[in-house]
Subunit: 357 residues, 4 copies
């Protein structure tokens, strides 16, 4: 299936290459009657768009989606919704060498092995981070849908390299150019990125996502739990190397009496006193905040010379990647993480009843 | 789909509840002609089976699979392979109260919300860790299949609570009763478990898995990469709260020049000088070792009194879980992690060609 | 996917071979709270079971399903429902020759080509009509479910060889041993079967199915309409060679003004004045009776000598099939057709809303 | 899934409405390295395109596909292939009344029930026959692929209303404007269509498809056989009301000794002496010609006045459909039937091995 996600109800098809005519997505399975606000969608897409600041690639793309079908008068009509973004700023440089001398940390080598030279290696082709733009079209639409159900998805930068933002995550940082909570941590993180950049290097980081207002009972046992779904979709995003829910890896160091979230009654309804489970028990939401964190590796495209191999001559080569790339992908990944959460949760919300009566 | 995993070629259906007549699995999509060695399968299942030692539940089940179909003379015949394990040691105690007073850290509460009292709450029902036994039947068969292709899957305990085994993971620890590499770390880990046990508590840990011999080119872009698949399946295992590949969360702290795996030539073929990617670039194997780590939370069933709520009276309750449970699930989870890797990779290996010529 | 049907909500896994330990099915995706009446299910299964009369094979199997899981106190619990039927009457004769000398009209030859001799050729293996028994377990459960929603599924024998039952299909014939409407046509059909039988031959026929009470709005455009689903499932039944909905092939001979079903108002609600569409427009039910007909070829196993080829020696052979087989499969196929309708429609009914508001 | 077909290897997403910005398709799962000849594709699409002759709608659309991605230098690159066709000739008339007064034989009524007025009712929206154009893009590409494997797919008009073309189907009729075999039958059929047209009426017909050169062993048991797949896809085409394979409904009238295809040796390889099975046994190809026939109902849009109902006032209405429509859809359906066959068979050919050794 590769580039089609078959959820319980939603089906998301992502298509395009970095330098093809267009990239885009089809979202199939949406009920009719869901309004789409194009301005708010554009605002959301702008958070991911490149070329806006110091830590993002200089490739400027407006990332304005063109809707082909699926809407009538701005409202879903029950038919598949397809939108695309034209690639305008393409093939300005020669990528031919990348097929022969693969970039460390990129899919150049594995794509060559798999597709025997037929792959589109311009700009990383179908493996490019640019493919997260259509993902964000789907996510942006579904974030609006969720918000109408009272479900709010917020992500933030938790860490850049060795700088952590310890501030509690109480409100959205979507309006910030650099979406961290603490302004002090933010400055420190940006400085870290700038330093790496000036050295021709890059840094990674961690994005944390919190979902508020999700009802209890979403998700299903074994293969179709909330965690399975979010994880499966999250690794569709380039540079993701880890994901954890609730206490996550820290839970592995805890005792049960510490990690277990005891139940209590608050305002007449049942809650847990803590939330080490990240809002998910047995793959199913328990009504608490859904919390997960995603590890992003540093951008593999760096200016520093690196060792590679010429696949034709089988001789070592020193590779110097020219052009400008994001010295840190993490700030632009924040809305992408929200999009992943939105697709996963909307898919589960749109299912039929789990109890029949 | 919930309890059916639809891979690219393999389809795994897991069925059963902790106290139903039987638990089992159907593996659909296996080609004909694959031999299954029942003795080696039984050895593999024994590594997961309960009741064998101090850190595992006293519930004894032999976990002997009964094959219903799919084999002819011990070789797959192209039809779905179904095997089941009878539940013999069931309903020895009263679980009725669990429906009303949910156990912290378990799916009791979320199952009640979702299934409105119709769920089978005995022993956790379909959410029980016992459902990893049929998963291991599938995994055990596929580990044999992979081994015949020269692909070896090994997992080990990397950490229990705050004790880490720093020894390099060079050889299988499958024969060890406590599957850690360093004997000293092993003793320390077992002591930690025993102490938690004696306090009526439990501990979590981390399992590391290494796959050697996998060819380059397995996995697909976007939604169907090796990481997506392993992660999706891994969260089917109760108590898993995080997964990371290669350097994982540590990569988030690195610079690109440090994390990138440079290419070099070894013995005439292309390799990476390091393996921070965990053998996966762009979702596709690069021929290096596939490495991932899985975080398990501490067993939620503990003897210590815990606060819960009576769902009928909506009054607080103090819950004391009687009976014996694994004070640490991690040792028995090691073969389960191997099974997850085996299902994921076999599914990708059995696909048709990615290049047509 | 082969032996797993992945519907919109329901997932049906069929497993087993004619002479394996057992055959069975897993039905995944059923909501919790649906009662299953085992006696009525058994009555339904008895309609399909072999060995009851003159036109069915002498192989006697009780076809009593054993429920392994998925029910609690006779009500679905939200977990997969698995049931199996033991094969008791197996391997009484030698099927070894069938691998080498394929029976005309059977899957012996194609299975050999596909599975290279590893297939289970005893009794047709996974291709046996016996696999319709687990299909009927799923169907029988879902017929009960549909009936509770006021949806009644009835099938009947419409034709045997050249004998047609022209009587209008107004009430269930499920209680009849030979499920035709007109008693006169029934006698004639039975005589035709008996004559073919006495000549060592077999006959085919047509089954008609009518679904009453299905609401308007079931089914979806393009690939997931009611017709797509029923057709896809119907061809899972051995010997089916054609299917038509409403006027079907006769519609090809009509003018639009004749075939179009005009709309009218009856008792205050909208209906069509005729029902050439068989209750389906654009893949979606319109609230009228769903009507379809299925063509079954004559049983391929006949006593008359037939020409075949020895696949090893590549020499012509004259094959004489011994043992007794159904001289006409059609009477036993009637409940199977109902089962197919029940699975298809239940799957569509259990979906979430198509309009969100 | 609705408008996404998930095959064993190929995934086809169809999107668009009759009057949306564009219609199109994404074909996912194609291996890299498959050439696409755009001129031959265009020739194929022209056979389906409207506005070319007397029996087709006057709406002229060039149906020139624009490829967005998935190709590099005219060869598949392993990434999803997306192509679209702009709708230029749209909204020239008022379809508003169709929402309120549904056309008999169309999906107007069922779409209104399902989507509560949010559906795009212009020109039939997503239910329009125009959506077969993107289907033909996929099919046209895959027909080229099949041809390179020596597999030739040909369809022809077998019947229009009560006129049958009895001529044997030995060679392609793709070059004919009216794709029947016998010129005499062709004239008679065209006369029948013209007469119906002049009366403000329409006629239906039957298309026959023959696939030559398909290897034995394609298709899988139970749900994934060749017949299941072709049937599932065929009912995605508007106006299809029946399908039969080989002898089809006629087999229901035969005796087993007549219908069974005996095996014989021709030129040193195994064949069947007849082909009542239509090349498929047990869902799997046997190496003979694959033969199936598809029944198309008469075009529901006719000029003759018809009774309908005003859904708002709930009063009877006499509907007169203005504008011009195909008086017979069958000639343009011929390439669509070929496209369905091509998608079904290519999907099965691209699977991995069924026997592992």
């Amino acid at each position: 299936m590769s580039s089609i996600f078959n959820g319980s109800t939603l089906h998301l098809s992502i298509f395009g290459q970095s330098h093809s005519e267009a990239i885009g997505m089809t979202l199939d399975g949406l009920p009719a009657g869901i309004p789409v606000d194009p301005d708010r969608l554009q605002q959301f897409l702008n958070r991911r768009a490149p070329g806006q600041n110091d830590w993002s690639t200089a490739r400027r793309e407006e990332d304005r989606p063109e809707f082909l079908c699926g809407l009538k008068d701005g409202i879903t009509c029950g038919a598949p919704l397809t939108a695309l973004i034209r690639n305008r700023n393409t093939q300005g440089k020669d990528y031919e060498s990348l097929r022969v001398i693969p970039r460390p940390g990129h899919a150049d080598y594995t794509a060559q092995i798999k597709y025997s030279g037929f792959q589109d290696y311009y700009g990383g082709g179908h493996f490019s981070g640019r493919l997260t733009a259509p993902f964000c079209i789907a996510g942006g639409i579904l974030l609006q849908f969720l918000e109408r159900q009272g479900i709010i998805v917020n992500a933030r930068i938790l860490r850049i390299a060795n700088v952590t933002d310890d501030a509690p995550f109480l409100a959205s940082v979507a309006d910030k150019l650099f979406p961290a909570v603490s302004d002090e941590a933010s400055r420190c993180m940006q400085k870290t990125i700038a330093e790496a950049h000036s050295e021709g290097d890059s840094v990674g980081g961690i994005v944390e996502c919190v979902v508020r207002g999700a009802p209890a009972g979403l998700g299903n046992p074994i293969f179709d739990g909330v965690e399975n779904r979010i994880a499966q979709l999250m690794f569709a995003v380039p540079a993701v190397k880890g994901i954890e829910f609730g206490a996550g890896f820290a839970a592995a160091e805890m005792h049960g009496s510490e990690n277990n979230d005891e139940f209590c009654i608050q305002n007449g309804s049942i809650h847990t006193c803590t939330n080490h489970a990240g809002g998910i028990l047995g793959g199913i939401t328990n009504g608490e905040e859904i919390v997960f964190r995603v590890a992003f590796k540093p951008t593999p495209s760096i200016a520093k010379p690196q060792r590679s191999v010429n696949l034709e001559s089988m001789q070592p080569e020193i590779l110097e990647i020219t052009g400008r790339h994001d010295p840190c992908i993490v700030p632009r990944a924040v809305p992408v993480v929200e999009a992943v959460a939105a697709v996963s949760l909307s898919d589960l919300i749109l299912r039929g009843n789990d109890t029949w009566n």
